[in-house]
């Protein structure tokens, strides 16, 4: 089983084909390869269909084995579980794996990774992902996903617990 970097819901980054900045990006990625990651989240979504943003909150738990557990608290309580091994079987797609993105390191408060999908299926949906990391722990704490249809999702993590 290839290793997966467990950071966000479905769109995860991992090892990359790097253009410069390799060392730092590798450091960041390695910091984001815990056995278990859990955090509270606030998701703000701007949909091309809606006038207003959609805001939801909850807690997410990701495990290296591929288990994803999401407890949504607002606007309504809901629990969703995914297993990365089942995604192909049940949903006809896979969780993004190594080398699905071109990643560049941007300067900012902490490190910021700009991830551009390389492969057709992802590229058709997502134009880019911006990942902010904590300047000390290098763990991802915020990300923005820009969709090709104009949708935008912003996810912020707090109370992050990481098991190495």
């Amino acid at each position: 089983m290839k290793s997966k970097v467990l950071i966000l819901l479905f769109l995860l980054f991992s090892a990359i084909s790097m253009r410069g900045q390799e060392g730092k990006i590798n450091d960041i990625l390695n910091s984001n390869r815990p056995r278990k990651f859990s955090a509270d989240f606030i998701q703000i979504k701007q949909s091309a269909l809606l006038e207003k943003e959609l805001v939801s909150t909850g807690r997410i738990t990701l495990e290296k084995s591929g288990q994803i557990h999401i407890e949504t608290i607002t606007p309504e309580q809901k629990v969703t579980d995914y297993n990365s091994d089942d995604t192909g079987k049940n949903y006809g797609f896979r969780l993004p794996s190594e080398k699905d993105f071109d990643i560049t390191l941007l300067e900012g408060d902490g490190y910021i990774l700009k991830m551009i999908p390389k492969r057709g299926n992802l590229r058709q949906i997502i134009s880019q992902i911006i990942v902010h990391t904590d300047s000390q722990t290098q763990i991802a704490n915020k990300l923005m996903i820009l969709f090709r249809n104009g949708d935008l999702i912003q996810l912020e993590f707090s109370d992050i617990k990481v098991t190495i």
Binding site: S47, L49, F93, E98
Partner: protein
């Protein structure tokens, strides 16, 4: 005929230069005609030609035959994606297209969603529209659906579905989407960027489509060589990845290569063994060389004749022609082997003309029976086989005796194969007859189990890698489930006709049906849908307003569902099939194609594997004449099913024709039966042994049936001619004939038998049948005719004695019956003399002769002399005949009247 051949021999033996000139002229003419001919390589010619098989063949061509699949597997859980990308990039750079990887293949999901949304009313059925109507009849439906949509938008992945919501916020077109989704044949794994991956991502597949269906392996080979070069580059750069490839073009090339290697190795081995054997048997290099020249001339001349009447000559036909060489070799071997015992070429030729001609005519007859089959290739094989045999016999009778070196020291017995043994006693003979009869009955019973194997895959050669590839593909398609696919093909003179036929199949309740008309409805159905859609719109005229109001209330933007509103406003007109090409490309264009102005549409019905045959039979009974069904497993059975029917007829037709020619040549029914009995018994034994060894007839070895029939009747004819000759003249010739038969059979046995070493199952099946067949025909030809002939002679002697004992002095006419009986089974010429002499005029002459001595010169077979001596005891007859064989036949009569003396020549008398 015999006299004509001998006259030609006499002429050419003193004008050898003219014979050489004629031979060279024929060879040159044949060479020029062959050189100018176009050679083609089309396996389709092998298949029976009728409307039914042509339809199956078109379906077969379009289903699977042009796809190469390259599998990538990670060693120790490594990564394959990059290797696949690298492979695809390299291939595209080399001009090799990878399905789903070209610039055009980036047709995104948005495009498809957009197309469906904009044209859904054309794709909707009456039921779909009724469903939409029913949904909207609920006044709460629109607000509740919008709430559901909005709730769904919270999900990260909803950005994919939000595009769909723009076109169908109320889910009115969902049945159309579901039908299109169901067309995906992949049960396991997922597609990504044109690659197919297993769920765990450790196995991936890339697909390549050959430009068009091709039966030419040379084209496939060149492409595969380029692919292999790329594969090797990938393997070098990605050592942790395994690559295997498979697909029909790969299998075709592997088959062709395997056949070529096996055939070449077998040919070299066979030629070496045969040359050694011929040299050991004939003891003269020149004899061996002339046998090969004869065969080459036969093939060259035959191909020349064939090519002069056909602008295209199939390479398969050339191959067949060379196979017939094994049979044609029989003729020069018989003549050359016989010449070993003779110093007089003319006499050797004279003795061989009859058996050679009769054998040739019957074998040619057997080959001509193939003309009655429905496969063009089989008919052509029959024709080329017959022509090759006629050309070879022409060379053997006209040229070979002229050029063969004279044998100064004729042998007394065969060096290599000798058949002198102790005579079997009558008890042992009876026991043998009994055993033979019991065994024949047993083999007849077993023969009923022998069938025709219509599964072409059984005679296909596949490398382990290719087998592994097919198994991997099977896992993607079936996911270990015991499901089977039935293909239903609807046809029509136009695409519209075929679509209408497909829409009217009425098999939906029998399994999960995947039909192209979900993507391309017929004009007729589109018209119906448009009418219903208009009714729907009339009924829900306020839909745009109510939806817009409700959606704004729920927080959606004013223009959020503008694409859906555009669809509602649009006036639809029926569209041609090409309009739906974007959707057709989702499932592959092999599901809808037009050939020779005939449209074909394939639908797939997935049924429980255990119910496959039952369901298929049921479907067949439901289908109209314009449609047919098959499963993947029995497609080849349908294709060559006609051949299997042909095969059942072939045995009967072949038998009737051979028997007819035997009767014609031997002039007597019981001799024709005697000649036919070993062939029929041999055939039963072959079938029985095939049943015991589990060998089935197939499209390849079934050709051998004709060979074995032809070879069997040749051998039997030679043995019967030998028996007749020995009985008539008392000269021992059977051993010579038997040795020639053995030599010929051993050569055929080796020539095709060495194929048993082949890796290719088709070639091995040829060898298996040949080995059984040749042993059987030789055993039957040797064993059966002598026993039955002896029985016939016993019957003849019994009737002769009976007639003699009842004989009264009735004059020449009365004795004619006795003379005719006496000359029975003494050969064609003696029989002809009987027919010529025993007539009213002869009877009157004999009855009116005055008593006293009579001398007859050139008495021939002595028919006249014997009749005269028997009917006129008052006349002393002395008959002179210079020809040794005629003299011996005449003098060895069983009646031996006292008033008759035979002399071999007038000098003997003097």
């Amino acid at each position: 005929m015999k006299n004509l051949i001998l006259k030609v021999y006499d002429y050419f033996s003193v004008n050898k230069n003219k014979a050489i000139a004629l031979l060279i002229t024929i060879a040159l003419l044949a060479g020029v005609v062959i050189f100018r001919s176009n050679f083609s390589e089309d396996i389709a010619a092998f298949l029976p030609q009728n409307e039914r098989t042509e339809k199956y063949y078109e379906a077969y061509k379009h289903l699977a035959n042009n796809r190469i699949i390259i599998f990538f597997r990670a060693k120790d859980g490594g990564e394959i994606r990059e290797a696949m990308e690298f492979f695809a990039d390299k291939s595209i750079a080399e001009g090799i297209e990878i399905s789903g990887r070209g610039e055009d293949s980036d047709a995104g999901i948005d495009d498809i969603i957009g197309f469906i949304g904009e044209n859904a009313p054309l794709l909707m059925t009456e039921e779909d529209i009724a469903r939409a109507d029913s949904l909207l009849n609920d006044i709460n439906y629109i607000p509740s659906k919008l709430s559901e949509v909005k709730k769904g938008l919270y999900s990260v992945i909803s950005s994919v579905s939000s595009n769909y919501y723009r076109h169908d916020p109320l889910g009115l077109f969902l049945p159309v989407v579901e039908r299109i989704k169901s067309l995906n044949p992949i049960k396991q794994g997922y597609y990504e960027d044109g690659f197919l991956f297993s769920d765990d991502g450790e196995l991936g597949a890339a697909f390549m489509e050959l430009p068009s269906f091709s039966t030419k392996t040379s084209e496939s080979r060149s492409l595969l060589e380029r692919i292999n070069t790329i594969k090797n580059t990938v393997l070098r750069d990605f050592p942790d990845v395994e690559i295997i490839s498979t697909g029909a073009p790969e299998v075709a090339v592997a088959n062709a290569d395997c056949i070529r290697t096996d055939a070449l190795r077998s040919l070299v081995l066979a030629i070496l063994i045969i040359i050694t054997l011929l040299w050991l048997a004939l003891r003269r290099v020149s004899y061996v060389v002339w046998i090969f020249i004869t065969i080459l001339f036969g093939v060259l001349f035959a191909l020349g004749i064939y090519a002069s009447f056909n602008s295209d000559t199939s390479l398969i036909i050339v191959g067949m022609c060379t196979v017939v060489m094994g049979l044609a070799a029989n003729y020069p071997i018989h003549l050359v082997d016989h010449l070993k015992f003779k110093s007089d070429r003319r006499r050797a030729l004279s003795e061989q003309i009859n058996p050679l001609l009769v054998g040739n005519i019957t074998t040619v007859g057997a080959f001509l029976s193939l003309l009655l089959l429905s496969s063009r290739a089989m008919r052509e094989f029959g024709l080329i086989g017959a022509i090759t045999l006629v050309c070879t016999i022409f060379f053997v009778l006209i040229f070979l005796p002229v050029f063969l070196p004279v044998n100064e020291n004729p042998l007394r017995k065969n060096d290599l194969i000798s058949f002198k043994g102790k005579k079997i006693g009558s008890k042992a003979k009876s026991a043998l007859v009994l055993i033979f009869t019991i065994l024949t009955a047993f083999f007849f019973w077993k023969s009923l189990d022998v069938s025709f194997d219509t599964d072409i895959s059984h005679i296909n050669y596949m490398t382990d890698e290719q087998k592994e590839g097919f198994a991997a593909m099977e896992s993607f398609l079936n996911n270990g489930r015991e499901e089977s696919t039935i293909y239903i093909v609807s046809t029509g003179n136009t695409v519209e006709e075929a679509l209408q036929a497909e829409e009217g199949l009425g098999v939906d309740s029998l399994g999960k049906i995947i039909r192209i008309s979900s993507l391309v409805p017929s004009i007729r159905n589109q018209q119906k849908s448009i009418l219903k859609w208009q009714e729907f719109k009339s009924k829900h005229q306020d839909l745009i307003t109510s939806l817009r109001n409700a959606s704004v209330k729920k927080g959606f933007k004013q223009d959020a569902f503008e694409p859906f509103f555009a669809t509602l406003r649009k006036d639809f007109q029926p569209e041609a099939p090409s309009f739906f090409s974007k959707l057709i490309s989702l499932v592959g264009e092999q599901f809808l194609f037009v050939v020779n102005e005939k449209a074909f549409i394939l639908s797939r019905l997935e049924v429980d594997g255990a119910e496959l045959i039952k369901t298929k039979d049921h479907i067949m009974s439901l289908l109209p004449e314009t449609a047919f069904a098959f499963s993947e497993k029995d497609l080849s059975a349908h294709l060559i099913g006609g051949l299997s029917d042909d095969f059942n007829n072939l045995g009967f037709i072949c038998g009737v024709i051979v028997f007819f020619f035997l009767w014609l040549c031997f002039s007597r029914l019981e001799v024709a039966l005697l000649a036919f009995l070993p062939i029929a018994m041999g055939w039963l034994w072959i079938l029985g042994l095939m049943s015991i060894f589990g060998i089935k007839f197939n499209i390849v070895n079934f050709i051998l049936a004709t060979f074995i029939f032809g070879q069997g009747d040749d051998y039997t004819i030679f043995v019967i001619e030998g028996l007749i000759y020995e009985y008539a003249t008392g000269k021992k010739i059977l051993a010579s004939y038997k040795s020639a038969i053995a030599l010929s059979a051993i050569i055929m046995f080796i020539a095709i038998g060495v194929l048993i070493l082949s890796r290719h199952p088709a070639l091995r099946s040829l060898a298996e049948l040949t080995m059984i067949g040749m042993v059987m025909v030789v055993v039957m030809a040797w064993m059966v005719p002598p026993v039955v002939f002896e029985a016939l002679l016993k019957i003849k002697r019994y009737y002769l004695q009976k007639r003699l004992s009842k004989m009264q002095d009735t004059g020449a006419k009365g004795y004619a019956k006795i003379v005719r009986l006496e000359y029975l089974y003494k050969g064609h010429e003696a029989a002809r003399e009987c027919r010529k002499v025993l007539c009213k005029k002869t009877f009157e002459t004999i009855d009116n002769l005055p008593p006293g001595p009579v001398e007859i010169n050139n008495a021939g077979y002595g028919v006249y002399a014997l009749l005269l001596a028997l009917s006129r005891k008052d006349i002393s007859v002395t008959a002179y005949e210079p020809d040794e064989d005629k003299y011996l036949t005449a003098s060895r009569n069983s009646l031996e009247p006292d008033n008759l003396r035979w002399r071999n020549s007038v000098f003997d008398y003097l």
